[in-house]
């Protein structure tokens, strides 16, 4: 049974990865890459590796997403000021 669940989550991971690459919106791409890690951590739990699952969930889908979001915010801010300078 759990083999089928793992297969479904694996296919979902591939879809999320493809979406993260081809999405025009960077914010959606960051969220999608967080979803990949979350699905991977569920698979790790199903495969009886709770230690790895905790690391993947905390670092992969939590902290990495936050760091990406902070970086995105910073890039947007830089772009905004540059455009303002050009206008002025």
């Amino acid at each position: 049974m759990s083999v089928y669940i793992i297969a479904v989550f694996g296919v979902l991971m591939v879809f999320a990865a493809v979406y993260a690459i081809y999405s025009r919106n960077i914010l959606s791409a960051i969220i999608a890459s967080g979803v990949i890690s979350l699905l991977a951590s569920i698979i790790y739990i199903l495969l009886a590796a709770p230690d790895v699952a905790m690391t993947e969930a905390a670092i992969g889908s939590g902290l990495t997403t936050v760091v990406f979001l902070l970086a995105l915010k910073r890039i947007n801010r830089l772009r905004g000021t540059e455009e303002e300078d050009v206008d002025a």
Binding site: A58, V66, L70
Partner: protein, 245 residues
């Protein structure tokens, strides 16, 4: 067009090269000799109820030291690349000064009431949970890295809810370096007093399953937890304070 054909060709070649890894390799039917030694003798030798922790902290302790070093280099890199020039700081301070006389529009918007109340409720629980994870690393799943990340996410919650809050980099750096230093010192003590580098048998092994058991593993994992927690907090704080400039 030609590039696409080349790309497709490369993908097909790569798939052909990697195909044997799926078809030819069969899953292990039994444990390898090293794995069998860990699984059978591990609990008796090291006294850790969680075998994964015994392997990570003691049998493969040197690799863990390498991982901690990698994280330290990453933190140092973030701090180096996003460092604030003194000149920039003076300029921004001057800009803030002129702004204050004119309008206070430059000050960051305070976080919402919901976020502030929620973070005040969750912060102690998250801190407690993080400490629990790394103190019980030898008994339950998890350990220094996971606990450290949970602590860092608790600090992130506080940073998000108190926008003007600035953490003291000196204290963070001090905690981080002291715990890293003690980690290596414990490893060397293991080399002198027990079987090898990072051997946990410098302290009594105790009874399997107790909190005070497994020798030095809880001490080592607490140090790793503190180090990882402060390092990741440092990264988040650097990125956030840089963003406010």
């Amino acid at each position: 067009m030609l590039r696409r054909i080349f790309a497709a060709f490369a993908v097909v070649l790569l798939a052909m090269a990697l195909l044997p890894f799926i078809t030819e390799i069969h899953p292990f039917q039994e444990l390898s000799p090293v794995a069998r030694h860990y699984a059978e003798k591990g609990p008796d030798e090291l006294g850790g109820a969680n075998l994964v922790t015994s392997v990570i902290v003691t049998y493969r302790g040197l690799d863990t030291l390498g991982e901690v070093t990698v994280l330290f280099i990453a933190t140092a890199g973030v701090g180096f690349l996003l460092r604030r020039d003194e000149r920039d700081e003076e300029e921004s301070a001057a800009a803030a000064g002129t702004d204050e006389s004119g309008s206070a529009g430059n000050s960051p918007r305070p976080a919402s009431e919901l976020l502030m109340s929620g973070s005040m409720l969750l912060f102690p629980l998250l801190m407690l949970f993080g400490v629990y994870i790394f103190l019980h690393g030898h008994l339950t799943p998890g350990g220094g890295f996971q606990g450290g990340v949970v602590i860092a996410s608790a600090m992130l919650l506080v940073m998000l809810s108190r926008v003007s809050l600035h953490l003291n980099h000196t204290v963070l750096g001090l905690v981080e370096s002291l715990s890293g230093f003690s980690y290596v010192v414990i490893g060397v003590v293991g080399l002198v007093l027990a079987g090898g580098f990072l051997d946990n048998r410098i302290l009594p092994l105790g009874e399997l399953g107790n909190l005070l058991s497994a020798g030095a593993i809880p001490v080592i994992y607490s140090l790793v937890g503190l180090k990882v927690g402060t390092e990741l907090t440092n990264i988040l704080e650097t990125m956030k304070s840089e963003e406010e400039l």
